[in-house]
């Protein structure tokens, strides 16, 4: 069989295996996949809030442009249009309108939900309430009459006011506006959970299409935010952005290698190690993890670009020799470099972030496979076109230069202080930074409570959690009186503890007693006016106790779910402060009150989490570097040579870190991964540059191969660095810069051949 056919057959087998792996692949696009695994309940809360919590169904929308009247009128049109969509549970644009189901369920449960029953039924209070109802009649029609018959105490409007989804947002003519009045605000609750990407994407498209179809939308602009939008956006971008860039990168590689090797067979064969690496990476990831994050693949394919260097080294060293001879001559440095990089990838594999762990597994498996397949390529019988080794070009031997630059870089990093690190958790999210900024900005405009602070209560059982929450809520008026906050949202508004429910049940008088008191309180009403209300009261005994599932199927289920959730073996309740002005005072007060509740500062917790994460990652990478140094020492046998091999990549890493810390306003874990990759590639350069430095012909081949590697890998990562996704951009630029510097430093540290 001709070599080219053998190559094609191997590729076909790999494509088959790859297709099998892909068919087994279960992709997920959760936002928290690249976040560290939470170490304590507070961190778990942060990850919940950022990713898949019940709040993950809420889409925030803002309409800008036009004049104020236009926006207000349009907000109503848009809400009406959006309410027709199938994928929407609920649309709010200001007025809190109870849908019939929710209204009916609230009506049933009203006797158990409101506090202070004795006060409500006092003579004075009853007279005032009924006077309110007469006023209601003065304006309303028959519809109001029906409501008053059933609810003369006005319990439903009171509950509706308590449960109004957003308090404190500015309103004009019943429509939410931002504080400047420049945008009308709406919220949409998606019918789908946040991880149902296809459905969320469809919904986002529907929302936009329905906006564009409204005749009055010209001149107005729609901005969408919220977890479903970000998830949909992220999925689309990981696909389109990463795929486009990968295609561009592949095209670039093909061009460079075709020009360098001038043989289609070689280009095809050169793809074999990479293809085998991708397939092996896929298989290992599929086997080792239940689900694979979409971005793991996008990153993984790119990271394996490193494996493209291997055939470049192999073919580059062949020249006019047989390929198996070349393979033998490069096997030692190639395996040494691969083993070193492997150590670093294994370190990522043990990261607590599932996304990074998948990336480590994918890259480690892929890299090892690609290295072995490269050394096996001569078995296919391919030949490289004969080629003169070329000239050894004189490069200045300046080993002190990387050293000086590295020291300067370290000085720069040290002088930057803590600012060299960025602890902003959102930067680790694989999301377009504009989408994130829109989201944060919309949340601020909407003032969805104080999104930063929450009081968390955790107890072993549901009942204990609810009772502890009620005990705290009873004391909160003290904190309000001190001016620290204006109010709060608590899950016990919707689900009082069983004890509290029983207490309230018992506090209601029987039908005849209440009928008599109502009659005495306001003689203007007909004696039989409140029969439906009294019927409801009589049925109170038959009413089931409210439980966590009591609001299933209503708009209130989401609210309860976001405030009350299972937490490991126990339950966790969140009390959201409204109008919080002094978080420190509230936190201190909570610590002194007899309660298990704590004030959780989401931002501080998330920053602490990122710092701890980075420390962990830094530690494992430090250990990896030490292991790599040890491995090199054992293989190379000399401290001096080991130091000389380690200097160029380490100096390149230091300089890249210093530059990126300035450019990107602080390093993140993504930069660390990028530095690690650049270090791996740079180490290969240094090992090859050193190993073959003594032989004139070998040296010329090596330098040409290294130059080609630098051009191809550096170019691919530079292309990746053009992404809109912050994560990809940071990674691409870091690696590209690291490779360029590694190449420069490897060359300047290569001793002149006649000196060896």
């Amino acid at each position: 069989m001709k070599p080219v056919l053998k190559v094609l057959a191997c590729l076909a087998v790999l494509v088959g295996l790859g297709a099998f792996a892909v068919s087994q692949l279960e992709l997920d696009y959760r936002l928290d996949a690249f976040l560290p695994a939470p170490a304590d309940p507070e961190q778990a809360l942060v990850v919940d809030q950022i990713s898949a919590g019940p709040g993950g169904r809420i889409i925030l929308a803002a309409v800008s442009g036009g004049d104020s009247e236009q926006r207000i009128a349009f907000s109503r049109q848009l809400a009406t249009a959006w309410r027709q969509l199938d994928d929407v549970v609920r649309v709010d644009n200001g007025e809190f309108q109870l849908d019939p189901t929710t209204e009916r369920r609230l009506m049933q449960a009203r006797f158990l939900l409101l506090p202070d029953i004795d006060q409500r039924l006092g003579d004075q209070a009853l007279a005032e309430t009924l006077a309110d109802r007469v006023s209601d009649l003065a304006l309303g029609g028959r519809q109001v009459e029906e409501l008053i018959r059933r609810d003369p105490l006005g319990m439903l409007p009171e509950l509706a006011a308590r449960l109004s989804p957003i308090e404190g947002t500015a309103q004009h003519d019943g429509v939410w506006l931002d504080s400047d009045g420049e945008r009308a605000l709406l919220t949409v609750i998606s019918a789908w959970p946040p991880f149902a990407i296809a459905e969320q994407t469809r919904l986002v498209d529907e929302l936009q299409a329905s906006f564009a179809e409204l005749p009055d939308s010209s001149g107005l602009e729609l901005t969408l935010g919220g977890a479903p939008v970000i998830a949909a956006d992220s999925a689309q971008r990981s696909r389109s952005d990463a795929m486009t860039l990968s295609l561009l990168g592949s095209g670039f590689l093909l061009l460079v290698l075709s020009l360098a090797w001038r043989s289609p067979t070689l280009v095809l064969a050169g793809a074999l190690p990479l293809a085998a690496g991708v397939v092996a990476g896929l298989l290992v990831t599929v086997l080792a993890f239940d689900q694979v994050h979409g971005l793991t693949l996008a990153f993984g394919f790119t990271l394996l670009g490193v494996a493209l260097d291997y055939p470049i080294h192999l073919f580059g060293h062949a020249g006019d020799r047989r390929l198996d001879v070349a393979a033998r001559s490069i096997s030692r440095p190639l395996l040494l470099g691969a083993a070193s990089t492997l150590i670093a990838y294994l370190a990522i594999w043990f990261s607590t972030s599932p996304g990074l762990a998948q990336l480590g597994a994918f890259s480690a498996a892929g890299l090892a496979t690609a290295a072995l397949v490269t050394l096996a390529l001569p078995a296919l019988g391919i030949q490289t076109p004969p080629r003169a080794p070329g000239m050894v070009r004189a490069w200045p031997y300046l080993p002190w230069l990387p050293l000086v630059l590295a020291i300067l870089a370290l000085v720069s990093l040290v002088s930057q202080g803590e600012q060299r690190w960025s602890s902003d958790l959102t930067r680790l999210s694989p999301v377009d930074s504009q989408a994130l900024a829109d989201d944060v900005e919309l949340r601020m405009a909407m003032q969805t409570g104080d999104v930063r602070h929450m009081m968390a209560v955790r107890e072993a059982s549901l009942d204990a959690t609810l009772e502890a929450t009620e005990a705290l809520v009873e004391r909160l008026p003290e904190a309000v009186a001190n001016g620290w906050l204006a109010g709060w949202q608590t899950p016990t508004d919707l689900l009082p503890s069983p004890a509290r429910q029983a207490q309230r049940r018992a506090a209601w008088p029987d039908r005849d007693t209440l009928a008599e008191r109502l009659g005495e309180a306001d003689p203007r009403f007909q004696p039989a006016a409140f029969e439906p209300f009294l019927d409801d009261l009589e049925r109170l005994d038959e009413l089931d106790e409210l439980g966590p599932d009591s609001w299933r199927g209503t708009a209130l289920d989401l609210r309860l779910g976001s405030l009350l959730a299972r937490d490991g073996d126990g339950w966790r309740a969140l009390i959201l402060p409204v109008g919080l002005t002094d978080a420190d005072a509230l936190g201190d007060w909570l610590a002194n009150v007899d309660t298990s509740a704590r004030l959780v500062d989401l931002r501080a917790t998330s920053e602490a989490m990122v710092t701890a994460y980075r420390r962990d990652a830094g530690l494992s990478l430090g250990i990896a570097v030490a292991l790599i140094a040890l491995l090199l020492l054992v293989r190379l046998g000399s401290m001096r040579v080991t130091a000389a091999v380690l200097l160029p990549p380490l100096a390149a890493i230091a300089c890249t870190a210093a530059i990126m810390a300035r450019v990107d306003g602080g390093l993140t874990i993504v930069h660390l991964v990028g530095l690690l990759l650049a270090g791996g590639i740079g180490l290969d350069f240094a090992i090859f540059a050193r190993t073959h430095a003594g032989d004139r012909r070998q040296r010329a081949r090596t330098n040409r191969a290294i130059g080609l590697c630098c051009l191809s890998s550096g170019g691919v990562f530079l292309i990746l660095g053009q992404s809109d996704i912050g994560l990809l951009r940071m990674l691409g630029l870091t690696v590209a810069l690291g490779i360029l510097l590694s190449w420069l430093f490897a060359k300047t540290c290569q001793p002149p051949w006649r000196h060896i």
Partner: protein, 185 residues
Amino acid sequence: MLLFAALATAPAEPETAAAQDLAGLVQRVAEAGEQALSFEETRPSSLLAEPLTITGTLHRDGDRLVRETSTPRSETQILAADYFEVRRAGGFRQRFSLSRAPELGALRQALLALLDGDADQLGQDFAHELSWDDDQWHLVLVPHDTAMAERVQRLELSGRDNRLETMNLHLVDDELIQTRFTTQP
């Protein structure tokens, strides 16, 4: 603030045919005065032993009609294009969609058009019939809007010369809301 119309001002001028059509009438009513209008409204309720009497003043605020009532209690009622809002002492505010009480929409449309002297708008919203008996006029309005017509049978306005004196809102279930207008003392 633009104040509401309908006052006995200048002595009645000789009626011409042109002044007796709808446009002429609403224009004169609109031009008639600038004071807030006092009203006394009587409406029956199946919940109450006696019909409810509401007194207070009416004025317009932009495209909204504002009723400040003194009985049965002091409160502010705002009728806007698609909601009505009640404000009571102690900061209480409640807002309802106007679809809950379409008759209030009819009331607002008719009174605002009359106040603006906008006969065209009145003609767009209602089928109308105007009759005169000397300087006494009687205007019957039937809403075009189907949702409103499900609740409002007709609106009867009557007055003398350029003054609006009574308004009877006939609802479909024979409910009648009667309003008498007087000038403010």
